[in-house]
């Protein structure tokens, strides 16, 4: 059957959790670390690194290392132009299409990058289950969390990422709702809960009503582009400004680093438009990443300390920063969360004083200013008993458990964060499903034709609260075909929109007079078609094989190096000629030396099998020598000691 786990696919870090008998646990690696940094890096030999190792490579290979890819999920090139300019990796794609990330000479969509992270988490979970002695350790199905304010395209992109990683996404759950589920396990009382979730890249506020184990979301709001990343960027900009004015290093960015993608997709890493005042353009990517690392360290310090230092020895930069200064700098950002909170409360028909509990989720809620703001907003100290980094993954695991066990004590009833509508005459949006409707939700709209014998109709589906189509998010364009030829205005075509429990839309239509179902061609505006996902799946299998090959080659090389090193060490011993004369057979030394040469030659190439064979040969040739050396070592050790010490 396989295991079903819960995954928090975060902007900065990702986690996997599993519920055993209803109790969720975060799955950690051997060193006890729960967080997998959401970073993917392409090595020079084509190997992919994910997590901690990829994070280290941000400093050494920034143009080949992707971070915060979640911000690009389900988005178009035009949406991300401003922020892409600040990233060290290439972000491009065709105008009006999905974002593409360039690594070396390969291109990836955000779901493909996310799939690497998901595969890593899947691997981690499977290793864990295997270590636990479970016979059935395979992980094939998951519950993945997304920001509550994610639109249809962003949710669909997340589901596609799961498919690409070979996982069936049973359910997409909103992060704040998942968090409330994890909290609800301990405090199964009734009341109104506000979940304030400020993560690495996104902000969500959800207002829930909990009663009889039903977690009913009343309203949700947020900002999919507001989080710790933005705090970091403010600090980086501060450092860059100061470096600029104090005449620090002013090297130009390496030439040609971003020139390999076709011109239409080229996105040189240069500050544009709103970022023109920052000196990003003048710095090499390695330097920016080093600064980013230093300011993040300072930010974390300021959670507990009243002041700290941003220190960059390589750039000769040191700066004291107090918490007051830090707070003054980030206050406008943090205050951007107030309006969504007020809107969510208004939509829920509640006053702040009617909220019984406020819960903090997301790493950025460790910032003291954020905590103070939440206390002020709700007039009470917020809860943060559970680790804000882990609580979402725990909730996802609980939801996975509910789906698999069929237990009905707890039920999540979530809402759709944005209204769904279609474009009508004059580019005006006609709303069909309103925001904060409990999902699953459905809506119907009647259409007719404008021309005699018209057999198809174009429909443009949008998501958003604004009146005009141009101000809303384009989700998809549909063509209704197969309308029976009739005089204009006579057909009655019913189009049914269905939002499922994942917050993902599907559409069906039929002509009511003839009861003929219509075919619908779905063309997602900022997503991948099924065919594209299929093609990527095939490619990823091919690359997966290539990736495995590359990894195996590296392992063989490592093993060969170990043997070469040990052999050379023995041969270099000052008393080796004496050993050879006394203990070795005639010709043995020559056999060892020739095996060593053979392996060295194999190492110059990249034939893994040759390396392994020569390694084996050398091992075999040195087996006797190794025994000799060991015996001598024992004798030498004993020689210097008394009998009673032995």
């Amino acid at each position: 059957m396989g295991k079903v786990v819960g995954i928090d696919l975060g902007t900065t870090n990702s986690l996997v959790a599993y519920a055993r008998e209803g109790v969720p646990h975060v799955i950690r690696d051997a060193s006890g670390d729960a967080l997998v940094p959401s970073v993917v890096s392409l090595g020079d030999d084509g190997t992919f690194f994910v997590g901690r190792e990829a994070q280290r490579r941000l400093l050494t290979a920034p143009s080949r290392s992707v971070y915060s890819v979640k911000r690009f999920m389900g988005r178009g090139v035009d949406d991300v132009r401003g922020e892409a300019a600040l990233l060290p990796f290439k972000v491009g794609g065709e105008a009006g299409g999905v974002v593409r990330i360039g690594l070396d000479d390969r291109e990836f969509t955000p779901p493909e990058i996310s799939a690497f992270i998901l595969r890593e988490l899947k691997q981690r979970a499977e290793d864990y289950f295997r270590d636990q002695g479970e016979f059935d350790f395979e992980v094939d199905r998951v519950v993945i969390t997304v920001p509550a304010y994610f639109n249809d395209a962003q949710r669909t992109a997340t589901r596609d990422a799961g498919r690409l990683a070979g996982l069936e996404v049973l359910r997409i759950v909103n992060e704040p709702t998942a968090a409330s589920l994890a909290y609800g396990l301990d405090q199964r009382d009734r009341g109104i809960i506000a979940v304030y979730d400020l993560g690495g890249g996104t902000f969500d506020i959800s207002i829930l009503k909990v009663e009889d184990g039903v977690f009913q979301v009343l309203a949700t709001n947020g900002d999919t582009h507001l989080g710790g990343d933005d705090i970091d960027r403010l600090l980086v900009e501060l450092v860059l400004r100061e470096l600029g004015s104090s005449g620090g290093s002013n090297r130009l960015r390496a030439e040609g680093a971003s020139a390999s993608l076709a011109e239409a997709r080229e996105k040189p890493w240069r500050a544009e438009a709103e970022h023109q005042d920052t000196p990003y353009a003048e710095r090499p990517a390695e330097e920016i990443q080093a600064i980013r690392k230093a300011v993040i360290a300072a930010k974390l310090d300021l959670t507990d300390a009243e002041e700290t230092e941003i220190r960059m020895d390589a750039l000769g930069y040191r700066r004291r920063i107090t918490r007051a200064e830090f707070e003054q700098l980030i206050r406008p950002l943090v205050e951007r969360t107030i309006q969504p909170v007020r809107q969510a409360l208004a939509d829920a028909g509640l006053e702040p004083s009617e909220v019984d509990e406020a819960v903090l989720v997301g790493g950025s809620t460790r910032v003291p200013l954020v905590r103070r703001l939440v206390s002020e907003l709700f007039g009470r100290a917020p809860h943060s008993e559970l680790n804000p980094d882990e609580v979402v993954a725990l909730g996802a695991a609980v939801q996975a458990d509910i789906l698999m066990s069929g237990r009905r004590e707890m039920l999540l009833l979530d809402v759709t964060p944005l209204s769904l509508g279609i474009e009508t005459m004059g580019g005006v949006v006609s709303k069909i499903i309103l925001r904060n409707s409990t999902i699953p939700a459905s809506g119907r709209e009647m259409f007719t034709t404008g021309v005699d014998s018209q057999t198809s109709v174009d429909i443009h589906v949008l998501q958003g609260e604004r009146e005009l189509a141009t101000d809303c998010r384009s989700l998809a364009r549909f063509k209704l075909r197969g309308i029976p030829p009739m005089p204009a205005g006579l057909p009655r075509i019913e189009v049914r929109f269905q939002i499922d429990a994942n917050g993902i839309l599907s559409v069906a239509a039929s002509e009511l007079r003839t009861n003929i179902a219509q075919t619908i061609e779905v063309k997602p505006s900022y997503g991948l078609t099924d065919q594209e996902v299929e093609r990527m799946l095939i490619e990823s299998f091919e690359h997966a094989q290539a990736d495995v090959d590359a990894r195996l080659l590296i392992e063989s090389r490592n093993e060969a190096e170990t043997v070469i090193h040990a052999t050379e060490k023995s041969l270099r011993r000052p008393n080796f000629s004496e050993i050879a004369t006394v203990d070795l057979q005639p010709g043995e030394q020559e056999r060892i030396e020739s095996a060593l040469d053979a392996l060295r030659q194999a190492m110059a190439g990249s034939d893994r099998d040759a390396i392994r064979e020569r390694t084996h040969d050398l091992n075999h040739a040195t087996q006797h020598l190794a025994e000799v050396m060991m015996n001598r070592g024992v004798r030498e050790a004993l020689a210097g000691k008394n009998v009673k010490d032995v």
Binding site: L170, R171, E211, D212, V214, Q216, I402, L403, M404, G406, R408, L411, L412, L413, I422, E423, T424, M425, G426, G427, S430, S437, T438, I439, P440, A441, S442, E445, M446, F447, T448, T449, G450, V451, Q454, V457, D458, I459, H460, A469, A488, G489, R492, I493, Q498, D500, A501
Partner: protein, 254 residues
Amino acid sequence: MTPDPIAVRTVSTLECRNCGAGAPVDEHFCPQCSRILALGRHGDYFSFLGLPRRLVIDQAQLERRFRDLSRQFHPDYFYNASPTERLASLERSSYLNDAYRALRNPISRIEHLLAIEGLPSAKSEDPTTSSGSLRAESRGAGTAKVPPGLLEQVFELNEQLDEIRESRESGGDTATLRERLDSARKPIDLKREEHEREVESLSARWDEQLASGSPADRRTTLEALRERLLERNYINNLLATIDREAASLEARAG
């Protein structure tokens, strides 16, 4: 008991797709094999929730009913069921959510009652048109025409708004304009409060007539309710216009 004026429901029984047994339209699970039933064309939120067709409802009871049925239908509990049952669960859950949403709010509750009693309000089922080559059709007449009961207020307000707008554009004092806007708003606010009281008393009257009134009396009450809803839309539009003007004033002041 006299029959309801016009029945919207077209299907009176459901057929279980699992065992083929027939089931009353308001059943959710097959009486024979207890599988979840496909939704069919249900049209009555009250009966779906097992509630009487009343306008003054017990909110707590509605919520309990909603939670109970959610626990029975939700797709989370049908992951391992057959595709037919999964679809039925999705449809029933969606419909339940629609029903709960419509009945929770007193105004949409009235709108739904009018629809199932055969008096569709402003929100009709007229075909709309997409941005493409479709023919434009108005979505009901309710919003364009001024309801007779509001003519006087509308006339006065429009005049005042014109003046305020003019004065704002030619640089009139913000504080004075704000005051004038407030006083222009007052009669509309009053009208709205009066209106709400009327809707409440009509709702209570409907509930009484449901038990003991004649069909003609009930019809009169429903028509009065429909009239109030049309007025209500208009009043809300007026208030929105005032709010927009207030926002323009604040934007200028800020």
